[in-house]
């Protein structure tokens, strides 16, 4: 057993560091630090995606024949860790990490040829049409319906919590094409051009003051049958496959560590009257750091298992659950560390383009929005309650 990296891996680490040093501009870095949403705005995020693509690193998890870099799990770990340390933009994962693997796994040759290069280059910007107002955790009860009409489907219904729908030019969606004996039957996986007539998008503002999610309405939206991925009625299988990617991406500790470092820096600063001198704050920082250490070790154990071809299984639910809980602990700590500055509300966005002097120092601007928006971490991608159901079922057999 060995925690350290070998010579090749260290060389790769240098390569990643050099790449970041050459491509990450101060503007990108500042914009990322001052973005309290999950993902960077597309102008910032896609600029980084283009740089990655130019380097051949646009889609770390993809097979080589579709443009993946063929990294080992250790290399992916190094890449993600170095990116988190440097504070690179948070590229919207809907393309590369979500719809990409589904198209690769189940799409037609035409779909692969058309969509995959456009995801890599950042030409297409994707959003995910899964949840509906009546279908949250019970996702497979979804009602948005696609009715066959010649070579088209006609779609009616609505999707909600659609991250960056207001930026996206494409959506992958789960829609009901028939009614089977089980509610999971009769769901199909469809790719939709967001410019198609009949689609309207309503912004939803989250409690931190950010516009990241939306509700999307479909009124007689005509989509070619050729846009269906895989077989009709098998969408639930593909959608679940994708959810495993969403949860099991599995390298979150480095970002958590950077988040905690930012809060600890504030706690050690005169800006907070040295909050760290309170034993309670100092101990809580250690508690969160230790939780991150534990998560990091679990991630490394999973990576080691992956390197030898073992399947990590339900541990991806543990990673998702702990990541989201620790993320919330970090942001809760932040809210406490900044003291009275937690009272100030800054409604303007983006925070990196304010045209006035904010009420709090810039270093604190994202703390409250991140705490407030961060309540969503234990809700999206399968709530903590759903993750516990999965752990009980898959790990404990009950």
């Amino acid at each position: 057993m060995d925690l350290s990296f070998n010579a090749e891996e260290r060389a790769f680490q240098d390569e990643v560091r050099n790449f970041i040093a050459k491509n990450l501009t101060d503007e990108m870095k500042r914009a990322t630090a001052l973005t309290p949403s999950v993902f960077s705005d597309p102008d910032v995020g896609m600029a980084w995606q283009r740089a990655l693509h130019k380097q051949g690193w646009g889609a770390p998890g993809w097979p080589v024949e579709h443009g993946g870099p063929d990294w080992t799990p250790a290399q992916r770990w190094i890449f993600e860790t170095e990116c988190a340390r440097a504070g690179v933009p948070n590229v919207n994962v809907m393309g590369v990490k979500m719809v990409g693997p589904v198209i690769i796994g189940f799409g037609s040759p035409e779909q692969k040829n058309f969509y995959l290069p456009r995801i890599l280059s950042g030409e297409d910007y994707w959003c995910q049409g899964y949840s509906e107002p009546g279908s949250g955790s019970d996702l497979s009860s979804l009602k948005t319906r696609a009715v066959r009409d010649g070579d088209d489907y006609i779609i009616n219904g609505t999707k909600i919590w659609t991250t960056h729908a207001h930026h996206a030019n494409r959506m992958f969606a789960l829609v009901r094409t028939s009614d089977g004996p089980r509610q999971q039957d009769g769901i199909s996986f469809i790719l939709i051009d967001m410019k198609t007539p009949g689609i309207t998008t309503r912004p939803i503002l989250t409690i931190g003051g950010d516009h990241e999610v939306n509700q999307v309405f479909f009124d007689d939206v005509r989509v070619p049958v050729a846009n269906r991925v895989g077989e009709e009625g098998k969408g639930w299988t593909y959608g679940k496959y994708l959810l495993e990617f969403e949860r099991g991406a599995g390298i979150a500790s480095a970002k958590l560590r950077e988040g905690l470092r930012a809060i600890a820096d504030l706690a050690e600063s005169d800006l907070t009257g040295r909050a760290i001198d309170s034993p309670d704050i100092a101990t809580r920082i250690s508690e969160v750091e230790v939780d991150i250490d534990a998560l990091e070790m679990t991630e490394l154990r999973v990576l080691s298992a992956l390197q030898t071809g073992q399947n990590p299984g339900a541990v991806s639910s543990i990673l998702k659950l702990r990541n989201s809980e620790i993320r919330q602990a970090v942001t809760r700590l932040g809210a406490d560390v900044i003291g009275h500055d937690a009272l100030a509300v800054e409604p303007m966005r983006p925070l990196y383009k304010l045209n006035h002097e904010p009420a709090t120092p810039e270093e604190m601007l994202t703390v409250m929005p991140e705490y407030l928006n961060g309540r969503a971490y234990t809700i999206f991608g399968g709530t903590s309650e759903i993750q516990r159901d999965i752990i009980a079922k898959m790990m404990l057999g009950i």
Partner: protein
Amino acid sequence: MDLNLSDEQKLLRESAERFVAESYDAAHRRKMANDPLGFSPAVWKQFAELGWLALPLPEEFGGLGGGAVDVGILMEAFGRGLVSEPYVATVVLGAALIDRCGTTEQKQASLPKVADGSLKLALAHSERAARFDLAKVATSANKTAQGWRLAGSKIAVLDGHAADEIIVSALMHDHHGPSGRIGLFAVPATAPGLAISDYARLGGGRACNIELSDVNLPQDALLGDGSDSLPAIEWAVDRAMAALGAEAVGIMQTLLDTTLEYTKIRKQFGRTLSANQVIRHRLADMAMQVDESRSMALRAALKADSPPVERARAASGAKAKIGRCARFVGEQSIQLHGGMGVTEELEVGAYFKRLVAFDTLFGGSAHHYGRHAELSRRAASA
């Protein structure tokens, strides 16, 4: 980076798990709980034959040259059966300190005997007034014409009653008074002036308090050259905490398995306990905390030979985190067993008590989160 077990480590785990499963049943544990020695000399002999006593000792002194990860594999298996043999006292603390501080002659005299099972050791360091502060030692060692004279009191000496030799820490005095240096002295169990009062330890095994009333020792009772042994004591205790953390993981895993089985069988309101979501989620949390503990014990072991601050942060982080998880898993195991969980008729209580003992030993979670925070500040200002 590779956290997979090697073939040798897999073999070690299999043989340790098999040995524990075959040798440690409820009847054996009950017998040991009422035994004045608290463990079985026959089992200790088997440990020697299996090479487990030699496992982390250097090869030049009869050892196998294993590391903290190997010890952790063994300790996790020990935890599954609540093994009460004095492994930590003899091998992880005693022999490690002789190896780290002793002269070549001292190592040659002791370590091969530890490896073959003929020498049992203990570390007498904690004192009542020191609480968990390893640097605070009032027991004194005064230079005499023949060697040293030790006086003072020690508490919570693990397995001291069974040791052939007790390693006692004492503040060394010269003719100016206290030197500020802590020395480690090998005191034979039969030394005049040494009084041992032993007691049954929470969760199995035994421990003792020790009075040293002018115990006279020869010159070479002092391990090494007389330089300050505090860094070595901290090093050894950090390693012991990693080992005990692995043991706690084994204990927690057994409690989780047992509790899970029970909730699948026990019926109330016409259905099994595990049919209730509130129970399933509790068990999911327990499983998650066992897994986090496993990560932290492994992390502490992998960093056992890192530079002092990094090693100590990993050890304290693991001790604090595993201690907290252990309390949760232990208390919830009792809760889910209902009233029977509070009785001596089930073994749940014995496993729980060993976890409580683990959490307390060398300082509880609050102490170690505090130490971790203190070390962070030291690392930041360095």
